[in-house]
Subunit: 243 residues, 2 copies
Amino acid sequence: MHSHAAVALFVRRILLRSVVSPGEVQALSGLEGRRVQASRGQDLVLPGHGVHHATLLVSGLLARFDQMADGRRQITALHIPGDMADLHSVPMPLPAWGIQALVPSVVLQIPHGDLRGLAERKPAIAMAFWRDTVADASILAKWTANLGRADAVTRTAHLICEMGMRMEAHELDQRHDFALPITQAQLADALGLTTVHVNRTVSTLRQECGVLFEQGRVRVGDWTGLVRRGNFDDGYLMLDVKA
Amino acid sequence: MHSHAAVALFVRRILLRSVVSPGEVQALSGLEGRRVQASRGQDLVLPGHGVHHATLLVSGLLARFDQMADGRRQITALHIPGDMADLHSVPMPLPAWGIQALVPSVVLQIPHGDLRGLAERKPAIAMAFWRDTVADASILAKWTANLGRADAVTRTAHLICEMGMRMEAHELDQRHDFALPITQAQLADALGLTTVHVNRTVSTLRQECGVLFEQGRVRVGDWTGLVRRGNFDDGYLMLDVKA
DNA sequence: CGTTCGATTGATGTTCTTCAATATGCGTGG
DNA sequence: CCACGCATATTGAAGAACATCAATCGAACG
């Protein structure tokens, strides 16, 4: 995908939740950044290190993560193409989290100054950016709730539903068949499990709901069953707000 | 505490992380709201219901929570006096989360319109509000990481450290002796545990680090030990950023 | 053709939950 | 003032979920 196509995807994402004037859309669409290629496993942002740009994912798959003292990681967000993975860093340039490429990925590093300037000149854009990070936090809160109160199979089913819905809402794929080139070890870091248990959990969902992980894609045989198994309700994704 | 004192506390909190001009401070300080008394356990905001005001805690203790289908709750944030518990709702007035009073509390309901107006007229205030919700999300990410990767005792120790640091940073109390009138059942909802296990966990910390829950207060005998036990590093609280 | 990474499976151990009972403090009505 | 009821804290025993350790298998790749 071309860089400007990624920016267009980001703008579309913003427009999904916020009302922005044509002039402001144009200003957003004019955003530019440095194109960077990341290898599999590469850390693009390190926890506790300052950054001066936000990371727009062009292609691939990114994870925001927190690191324990012993090096173990917990993934706190997954980002798909068109996501600005750390728009947060615009008001908070010294983040406690890190960003990692889960597969070879291409990102656009957009200077904080440009985003900040845009937000300062256009209140509607400031509000739209703010809203975007709140939607991100809403997803994070749901992950917290699931980690605290749902068992492994439920949590995994929920995550698959979430990624499917997001892929579909952002018109990248269909909910029951979408790109998610993630290993079981990476899934384990996202779900707060061990790789061994992820393997058994995925196997359960394969039998119960026809969930297949193949060729870096997820295919869901029984979507309705998966939604039920994961207690999934898409309200928290904030896909139909418009303010 | 008087309502205007609570607003002052909120303003001080904003100033902790953001540079705001004197005129803007004055505008913030002029915020007013409806004073509401909440009884113990009362839900102030219900998940999935629209709101038209943000909730500033004057006195007491609030929890933001997510609710499972079977009614079980997971607390995703604890709020102390001076916190705006759902500043998030300004850009996102249909939240997926709820807000509950854990003890009899007094809140100030501040109209979204006033906050939104302020943010639109003063870019620095918009940025400060945005920054505040990002700091809140940073705490949430840490909770997610701990729920996913830390055991019960570590998680509990971490939470106590966090609340102590926040109380001290906001000049409400000292880190090793502060008000936290929370029951073990409520702690369980925050830590993703059962009340029984919270009881045993708290008992362990009482022995290992001299942690006492008494009279609605927490007292910590061995703060350094507790920090070590909880792998606590306060960077994620964003207490020393200034932008 | 060997090496490496990821997926898979089995056996065993630990953590946390569940169920159940008892204790303790505190407010309320008698 | 005392008796009672209710919420919270505490403890014990048994079970379930998940982790840990260890090994095998298969595919991709140099």
